[in-house]
């Protein structure tokens, strides 16, 4: 299982937001700086965290919410 907190931590760091500003219901729809440029950075950080395994999940390109990202990672990565 991928820890949701780790994903939230990465997204917070990339978007330069304080702890607590990103939660399990955050998405590009309700978070100001979560644009396509920052989404790329989120994907790269996730890939680094997961040792290159996130790059093999093309659906992450359109997964622009914490819930979608965590679901996709847990569906595709055995940890």
């Amino acid at each position: 299982m991928i820890d949701e907190d780790k994903v939230i931590n990465i997204v917070s760091q990339i978007l330069q937001l304080e702890n607590g500003e990103i939660t399990s219901v955050s998405s590009s729809e309700n978070t100001e700086n979560w644009d396509s440029l920052n989404h790329l950075s989120i994907l790269i950080s996730l890939d680094q965290l997961l040792g290159g395994r996130a790059a093999n999940i093309p659906e992450l390109a359109t997964a622009t919410s914490i819930k979608e990202i965590v679901t996709l990672l847990n569906k595709n990565i055995d940890d």
Binding site: S36, L43, A61, T62
Partner: protein, 327 residues
Amino acid sequence: MIEANIKISAIEYCLGENKESGLDLQKDNPDWRIEDIEEKTGIKTRWIALKGTTAVDLACNACDKIFEKIDKNKVDTLLFVTQSPDYFLPSSSCIIQNRVSLKTTTKCFDINLGCSGFVYALSMAAAYIKSGFSDNVLIVCADTYSKYIDKNDRTNRPIFSDGASATFLTKSDSKRVGPFEFGTDGSNYDKLIVKEGAAKSGFIKNTNPTLHMDGTAVFMFTMSVVSKSINSFLNNQGVIKEKINMYIFHQASKVVLDNLQRVLKIPDDRMYKNIEDLGNTVSSSIPVALKDADSNSRISHEELVLISGFGVGLSWGTCLLTWNKLL
């Protein structure tokens, strides 16, 4: 797997006439975070063709430059890689043949591919020369993607430059080009596309053909498919990564190059990048990088150079070169 006793003996290139900076982008788009964009793209300067300049014009300029070094009468085959043709028909290569005064016995045809186009054309040149069908092939790549890009398009405008390259291939006493490996994933054809103007839109007049790119999807493609194909190529050829003296990939953007380098574990001194002052010149980016790397002595005689082009299609191709100093 084609390996041929041919070599790249000369490369020349030219760029769009207008230099475009981050400041120019900012003027048209005050809300863009230019520093953030430049950090991701790695591109600070683009070269944009004048309104009346077409890819064929740039191609002819690149040809004129290379004909200062090689005899144009030796060219028996012209392969023109473009996705910005002057017309739906005839092939732009026919127009170039006439404009630069190549022999009328020259075989000329267009190849409609983008960023993988140079590697595909190289394989065709290798096959033609190896089979005895040709002796000397000129590969010309040219595109003017800027004409498909709106001034407010944040995905594409910061990336693409207009440019053309001319690459001359001839026989060699040793195998210097190949082997190759290619791939295609047409299921993602719409991730990088100009939808308007052609048959699917009914050839409607006065449409404004516009480049659409799903940047994140294309990025994920390069990270997964392209990196795997390069690893597979090296495994299939029994070449260990450390033997490659220089990796010259399609100069897509900094974020793509940096992450391919990370995933493939390529040391800094073996990863060629020249995107900052040139931008992404589509199918010309690899020959332009080869020319610059040769001029700057980043690649030397007999060194192994791995080139890989990838993008619109989606399409990709990889080739190993044993380098020889260019004219």
